[in-house]
Each structure stands twice: as structure tokens, then as C-alpha cells.
Amino acid sequence: MSKKMHIQMTVNGEEQEFLAEPRELLIHTLRERLNITGPHIGCETSHCGACTVTINGKSVKSCTMFVAQANGAEVTTIEGLGNPDSLHVLQEAFKEHHGLQCGFCTPGMITRASKLLEENPTPSEEEVRFGMAGNICRCTGYQNIVKSILAAAEELNSAKEAAQ
């Protein structure tokens, strides 16, 4: 049993401090220690993307990151984007454009999409498809996921234009 380490991180805007084994996986920290269960455990080998979160502005698969690597980091999960009473533009788009079926991949999918639209606010369909290729969905055939992301991009851009 390795020595516990003092960990400090900001998760969805809240300061968190705790002692953990350095090799505890971040997905377990989130789900079991902090009861943040939006990020899901799909494949545990960073292929499926169900556990995707944002760490210091980058999309990360939290099932293969040690909590020690996230020490001091700013972490955003799907819960940090919006909630059932106040949806983020992407969340609204996935709901309205049927970008989900079983919903298990959805939190990781939307979390990744939120970064994609920051990296590239006006993506082509092709860029969405390749930008989302690290997140697997077994149900939808992706058609409505791509549609949802493009719709959200348009919505965000017209809001931006209106603000200017």
C-alpha cells in the first residue's frame, strides 16, 4: 500500500481536498469519492470516451489518469456544464436533436464536444466527425450526435454575434 498523498483540485468550481493513493484513478475519485457520477466507466482503457472530462482546458479520459496527475488541476465534468433545470447549449441541442439513445456515452460525448467547440468554434461536419472520433457511441450511428454539435455551434455563434 503506497503512501497517501495530499490532493487538491477544483472540480466544477468547487475546491476539493483529500488524501488519496497517488495511483487512484481519477474516474474513481470522481465517482466514488466525490459522488460525481456523470462521467461513466465504459472500457477502462481510454478508448470509449464515456469518462471524458476537461482538465486545465484539455479533454482527458479520466479512466487512465492517476489522481496524482490531476493534483492542483481544474476539472470540469458534465455536471459543471449545466443541470436539468438549466441546460448548456450543447445539452439542449443533444436533447432536441436526439443526439442520444441509451445515454451512457452522452456525458463524455458532450464534455468532449464542449472542448471541440472551444478549439474550433465553426467546425465543418468533417471536423466534427474527426474531432469526436475518440468517443464511441453504440446506439445512434452518430448521425444525430453530429447534427446536435453543429446545431449547438450555430447557436453559440449567433449568440456571440448578437453580443457583439
Partner: protein, 762 residues
């Protein structure tokens, strides 16, 4: 009316915020135990020595169970009572659970499970179809169904062809792995949360394992993170394990398979080899056809008989066959026990005849679509009877019109010509196109399963709670059925609450399978709603001096005796008038009669239809390929929810294409599955989907009296993936004279091999 509206999934708001709970998200009590299985490392043989002390001494471990420690055999089989949860001394496949560990955390249990010291005496494992045939290792006698005299018809036909196609299995890869949690209750009762398509079976198997009556076990399933047939029977082991541990320790117990364990332990789609002999004329019209279907079933029977039956039942697909013989062997091998998977054998049987059509067209140098059309069933005509090889009249065939419509919409003819020109000018890249039909039979072939129950409550504030035996795995069943309930009461959707599937609310349910969810449960809910509505109408008519038949429920109001009461007020009035506002509903599918041994009768209430056209391009130097365009026209009858139905079609097509292209299961010579994670087992990604993807619904109503004249949609679109394999075959055939004889999955390696074979290089 709420039906026919393209409303979002009922839990969409929860899904997009991460608030939708799956089994692993349910808060577990602090003293919950976490379980893991220790797995066999050989495919066949005996355990000669087993030392579990290192497991017991591992950190966090509370207790370890071997088969002999269990309260019963803890049978996990949905059919033949041949699946003990833990192997005794005899090992039947590599990955078979041998012992069970309960520990304080998931990780502690898994780590401990890897510490066992087990000595084995291996024997030669039976792994392949040929090994099983040679060893006569099988479940039951071969089943043979025939119509007419296929042998004579083939021998006297102008042309005779023979061939075979092998098609791989398929891992379900539901994004949420198998999971269950058991919570011990007072007096020995057990509450089980399970990610299952079949809560009643979980209840039944847990009750059997613990020697309890079924009323002592309650199973709840709010949702699954995907099922696809993989959670019809494969969740039994986890639920039983949790219940056994919870019963023995008095503590809650939870188990979820790590993804690799899920691959190694659970069953997959049956792989098949289909051999065929066919006699045809110059137009490609089939005179007779014989199929030999060899299905690899794995170590236990599970659902292999009905799966193999359904493969036989779909050997005709859309084609009128006068002389046909189908022989089916269900082979027992030392591999995971193959199980239900979307289509349930139908895709395999259908691929057999589609291969025949492709092969015949190639031999004649014809457009495969012309050969297909030459063999289609006719439109329904009173004076012209036509029936399937198993004697079911085909009265609802819509594929003649549907195919012509899709052919025109997809510019099939023009594109086929353009592709031929393009291929003539491009030596390295070759394109291919194919348009293939689907006719899929709807109903469980085990007739008694075609029943469903529902429970509906109207509360005195006018809110409605609805429950039925179907389970939600993403297909949108709950929303469709809620749309039925809202329509029956003429209220808004937000008035209707959909509650988790619960064996204490609706008993004796069938699995949510065979695409039957909406057909069965929609009708059961409708019956319950009608019972309550009739009681309300009768009471309200009495106090408002009106006729019950004239009371109308519409737009959130009840129209009675010239008055318009808000639904909530009407509910309150009925409550105060001592009217029962709760009802059960029941439905059983009519008109079914089926003799599975003879292969005669009417196993299906109706057929669902569709057609798809795929265009691909292959790189003849590497075998790599892309799907360039897909056009699908699919028949959902009068759709209950066109958005959800289109989602099923799009997802089904991509999953079907995955089965036939990149999803390859590889077992090594020792019976070890080598593709046991997404790193080696490739399911379609976002970047793999067709660049152009047009999906439309066929405008029509079900001829049979189904719920609002809709049609089942879960499985049928899966088989649109066949057009991708046929398009690949078309592209490969542009490389030379020989028939590509492309097997599935047509991985880039397989395509490259086929190209080289057709070019005469191999």
C-alpha cells in the same frame, strides 16, 4: 394526440446532464461488498488443484466462494439448466468463472481474483465449426425444414451454383458493462437492481439460487446503457452472485464486469458458416436452393435453438422460394456461450440468401438488384396466395414499391453506371454499390412469450403513473408507451410519469427482445388506460347527465354533458365518487400458431420491411475502404415516434455495417479470445459513418391491428448493414473476373485478400 410526434427520449434531460442513473450510479450503502469472478485460463479440461488462500488473504477480501460453497447450483441458463454460475472441476471455456470474491472495493476484488493458484489438466478443446462437426459435438439433432423438392429443382435448373460464406460473431459492446446490485431485505427477501432486458428472469433465477419463492425477490431496472440482446440472459450470473453474497453476509453486494472480463465471460452473436447449392435460370430466378447452416453456439445452450430457428426463418428474406431445404446444426464448442444479439439469427439467415443473390448475379453478369427483384414476393392479391418456406402467408409485402422508390431516390441506376465508368479509369481505387432488401418477422417464435402486462394509476391530482414489463435500453420504449398513455387520456406528456420496470408491479413479463417492446407493452398500457377511462367516463356521465360513450378526453380536459373539466378536476371528482383509478392491462399477440419442429405455421404476427443502398470505395493496395453514401427507406408502419424510429434505423445500420466490416472476434488455438477490448475489437466510430446518410420512413400503416398501426423497429434496420458487404463485393468484383466470395467481417485484410484472389495473385 401525443402519438406520432417526434418527441425526445423521455430521460433526455437527465442523460445530457449526467443525472440519469445506471446501476453503478445508484448510491450504495457504506458496507456494500464488491464482487469479482476468478476466471479459467484454459478452454477445456479439469482443475486438478486449486489454492485460493492468496485470494482470501488479499487486502479487503471478506470471503471467497467456490462452486461447492454455493447454496445451490446457481444455474444461470435461460433455457436448459446447463449453466452453473461457477465451474466445478470441469472447465468448458476460457474465461469461465471458477470462484467468486467479495471484497470492500471493486478494485480489491479484481486484484484478489488474479491471485489464485490453479492447476489444470487440459484436453483438446473443440473450438471451430469443423472440430465440432467432426466430434459430433452439438445441441440437439440437426433441424431440417423444407418446401417443395429442392434437390430435384436444382438438378433440373439451367444453371447450378455452389458456395459458402462464413460470418463472424459480434460483441455487443453495450457502453455500460453488465452490472447488478443486491440489497438484502427483512425476512430473507431480496431486492435486486440489474442492468437487464429481462427482470422476470433475473427474479426467477435469483429465487431458484436462494431456494426462495419468486414473491420474495424483487427486481428493478430503470435503464440500461445499451442492451442489444446482450442483457437478455447474460446478466443472470451477476445478479445471482450479488444475491448469494447478500444472503450469506447480510450486506449489500454489487458487481460490475470490467470491460475485459465482460468480453471474456459473456456470450456474443453466433458466428455461422452457411453452405449453399442453388439452381437458377437465365434471369436469375431461383428454381431451388439448399442451405446448410452451421452455428457455433459455445459451451452452453442459452438461446441457441431459437436463434438458429430464426436464422432458418429468414433464409428466404424477401424472396418467394418454391423449392427450398434448410438444414441447421447447433454446434457445441469450448467458447463463450453465444447468445441473443439484435436480429437473433435473422441477420445470419438473411445474409445466406443475399449472398446467393449476389453470387447468381455475378455468374450471369447481371445487376444484383435485377436478380433480387426477379425473386421478390409479389404484392398481396386475394387470388394469388404466396407463402414463406415455413408456410406463413405473405400478405403485407411492400418491398416492390418500396424498392422502386428507394432506387429512384438514391439514383441507383445512374450511380451504378457512373461507378462502372469511374472504375474503368481508376486502377487503384474501386467503387461499389448495392441495394438490398429486408423482410423481418415480428413476434417471439416461442409463442407464449408474446404477452405483456401494464399497471396504470391516475392520482387524485390528475397526475398519471405508468408501469409495464418492458425495459428501457435507449430505444425510447418508455417514451413511446408514455405517448400512448397521454393520448388515451388526452393529456400532455408532462402529466405522465414513467416508472422503472419492477417485478413487484407487473409480474411474469417477457424479455424486452424480438423488437416486441412497443407492440406488446404499448397495447397492455392502452388496455389499462382504457379501463380507467371507461370508469371515469361512466362516473362523470352519471353526474353530468350524459352518455358514457359521449365523454371525450382531449387537450387536458374532459368534455362531458356540455362541460369541460380540467383532467385534474375530473380525476378528483372520480376519486371522491369512489371510482377505482388504478388498472392493470394485458395483451397477447393474436393469430400465432407455430410448430418449430416441423417448421410449419405462423410464427410471426406480421413482417417489417425496408431497403438500403450503400456505396463504398476500396483501396486495392491496402484493402482499406470507406462508406461514401447510404440511403435507407424503412417501414415502421404508422410510426409512434418518427424521431426515435429514425434513430433506431441509423444506429441499426451502422451496427450492422460494423458486424460485417470491422468487428472481428479472434480466438487463438488455445481458445483464448484475443480481441477482448476496444483496443483490438473495432466498433464503428464517428469518423466511420457514411459521408452522405439519407434515412426516410416508408409511409404506410400496419395491415395488422398493432398499437396505432405501428411496426416494431428495434432489429429490422440492423440488416440494412448487409448492403455494405454487398457493395464491398461489388467493388472487389471490379478487379477481375472471379467471384469475390467475400466472407464477413470484411476487414481491410479480408478485402485485400479478396482483391488479390480476384486478380489471380493469390
Amino acid at each position: 394526440m401525443s402519438v406520432a410526434k417526434p418527441l425526445p427520449h423521455d430521460a433526455a434531460r437527465l442523460h445530457v446532464t449526467g443525472a440519469a442513473r445506471y446501476v453503478d450510479d445508484i448510491p450504495a450503502p457504506a458496507n456494500t461488498l464488491h464482487l469479482a469472478f476468478g476466471l479459467s485460463q484454459i478452454a477445456a479440461g479439469r482443475i486438478t488443484a486449486i489454492d485460493l488462500d492468496p485470494v482470501r488473504k488479499a487486502p479487503g477480501v471478506l470471503r471467497v466462494w467456490e462452486a461447492s460453497d454455493l447454496p445451490s447450483d446457481c444455474d444461470c441458463s435461460p433455457s436448459a439448466h446447463d449453466e452453473p454460475m461457477l465451474a466445478g472441476h470441469t472447465i468448458r471455456y476460457l474465461g469461465q468463472p471458477i470462484f467468486l470474491v467479495a471484497a470492500t472495493s471493486h478494485l480489491a476484488a479484481r486484484k484478489a481474483a488474479s491471485l489464485a493458484k490453479i492447476d489444470y489438466q487440459s484436453r483438446d478443446a473443440i473450438l471451430t465449426v469443423d472440430e465440432a462437426m467432426d466430434a459430433d459435438s452439438r445441441f440437439g439433432e440437426p433441424r431440417i425444414w423444407q418446401k417443395g423438392d429442392a434437390g430435384e429443382a436444382i438438378d433440373t435448373a439451367p444453371h447450378v451454383l455452389e458456395g459458402e460464406i462464413t460470418m463472424g460473431g459480434q460483441e455487443h459492446f453495450y457502453l455500460e458493462g453488465q452490472a447488478a446490485m443486491a440489497l438484502p431485505q427483512e425476512d430473507g427477501d431480496m431486492l435486486v437492481h440489474s442492468s437487464t432486458q429481462h427482470p422476470t428472469e433475473i427474479q426467477h433465477k435469483v429465487a431458484h439460487a436462494l431456494h426462495l419463492p419468486m414473491h420474495a425477490v424483487r427486481v428493478e431496472t430503470r435503464r440500461m446503457g445499451g442492451g442489444f440482446g446482450g442483457k437478455e440472459s447474460q446478466g443472470n450470473a451477476l445478479a445471482i452472485a450479488c444475491a448469494v453474497v447478500a444472503s450469506a453476509t447480510g450486506r449489500p453486494a454489487k458487481m460490475r464486469y470490467d470491460r475485459d472480463d465482460d468480453f471474456m465471460i459473456t456470450g456474443k452473436r453466433h458466428d455461422f458458416r452457411i453452405e449453399y447449392r442453388v439452381g437458377h435460370d437465365d434471369d436469375g430466378k431461383l428454381h431451388g436452393v439448399e442451405f446448410l447452416q452451421l452455428a457455433r453456439c459455445g459451451w452452453a445452450q442459452d438461446l441457441s435453438h431459437p436463434v438458429a430457428d430464426r436464422a432458418m426463418l429468414h433464409s428466404d428474406n424477401a424472396y418467394a422460394l418454391d423449392h427450398v431445404r434448410i438444414e441447421s446444426h447447433r454446434l457445441k464448442t469450448n467458447t463463450q456461450s453465444a447468445t441473443a444479439y439484435r436480429g437473433f439469427g435473422g441477420p445470419q439467415g438473411m445474409l445466406g440468401i443475399e449472398r446467393v443473390m449476389d453470387h447468381v448475379a455475378h455468374a450471369l453478369g447481371k445487376d444484383p438488384l435485377d436478380v433480387r427483384r426477379a425473386n421478390y414476393y409479389g404484392d398481396f392479391a386475394e387470388d394469388k396466395a404466396q407463402s414463406t418456406p415455413y408456410g406463413q402467408p405473405v400478405t403485407d409485402f411492400v418491398l416492390n414499391d418500396l424498392t422502386e422508390t428507394l432506387k429512384a431516390r438514391s439514383d441507383y441506376t445512374e450511380r451504378r453506371e457512373a461507378i462502372a465508368d469511374w472504375n474503368a479509369q481508376n486502377p487503384v481505387l474501386k467503387r461499389g454499390i448495392a441495394l438490398t432488401p429486408v423482410k423481418f418477422g415480428i413476434s417471439f417464435t416461442l409463442t407464449h412469450l408474446n404477452q405483456a402486462g401494464a399497471l396504470v394509476h391516475v392520482y387524485q391530482d390528475g397526475s398519471i403513473a405508468m408501469n409495464h414489463g418492458g425495459t428501457e435500453m435507449g430505444q425510447g420504449l418508455f417514451q413511446k408507451v408514455a405517448q400512448v398513455a397521454a393520448s388515451e387520456f388526452g393529456v400532455d406528456m408532462d402529466v405522465v410519469k414513467i416508472t422503472a420496470t419492477d417485478t413487484a408491479k407487473v409480474p411474469n413479463t417477457s424479455a424486452t427482445a424480438a423488437s416486441s417492446g412497443s407492440d406488446l407493452n404499448g397495447m397492455a398500457v392502452k388496455a389499462a388506460c382504457e379501463a380507467i377511462r371507461d370508469r371515469m367516463a361512466e362516473h362523470l356521465a352519471r353526474i353530468h347527465q350524459d352518455e358514457p360513450a359521449d365523454v371525450v378526453f382531449r387537450d387536458g380536459e374532459v368534455h362531458v354533458g356540455g362541460n369541460r373539466l380540467p383532467f385534474a378536476e375530473a380525476a378528483k371528482a372520480c376519486y371522491e365518487g369512489r371510482v377505482s383509478l388504478s388498472a392493470t392491462g394485458f395483451y397477447k399477440t393474436p393469430k400465432l400458431s407455430w410448430d418449430m419442429i416441423k417448421g410449419q405455421g405462423r410464427p410471426f404476427f406480421y413482417f417489417a420491411y425496408g431497403a438500403s443502398c450503400s456505396e463504398v470505395v476500396i483501396d486495392t493496395l491496402t484493402g482499406e475502404y470507406r462508406i461514401l453514401r447510404a440511403d435507407i427507406l424503412h417501414d415502421c408502419g404508422a410510426s409512434l415516434n418518427p424521431a426515435l424510429d429514425k434513430g433506431q434505423i441509423e444506429g441499426g445500420y451502422v451496427q450492422g455495417a460494423g458486424w460485417l466490416t470491422t468487428e472481428e472476434l479472434v480466438w487463438d488455438d488455445h481458445g483464448r479470445l484475443r480481441t477482448h477490448a476496444p483496443s483490438t475489437y473495432k466498433i464503428p466510430a464517428c469518423s466511420d459513418r457514411p459521408e452522405v446518410f439519407n434515412v426516410s420512413l416508408w409511409d404506410g400503416r400496419n395491415r395488422e391491428e398493432t398499437i396505432y398501426r405501428s411496426k416494431a423497429v428495434g432489429e429490422p434496420p440492423f440488416m440494412h448493414g448487409i448492403s455494405v458487404l454487398m457493395a464491398l463485393s461489388d467493388a472487389v468484383s471490379a478487379c477481375g473476373e472471379a467471384y469475390p466470395a467475400l466472407d464477413a467481417p470484411a476487414t481491410p485484410e479480408a478485402v485485400l485478400k479478396a482483391v488479390r484472389r480476384v486478380r489471380g495473385v493469390l
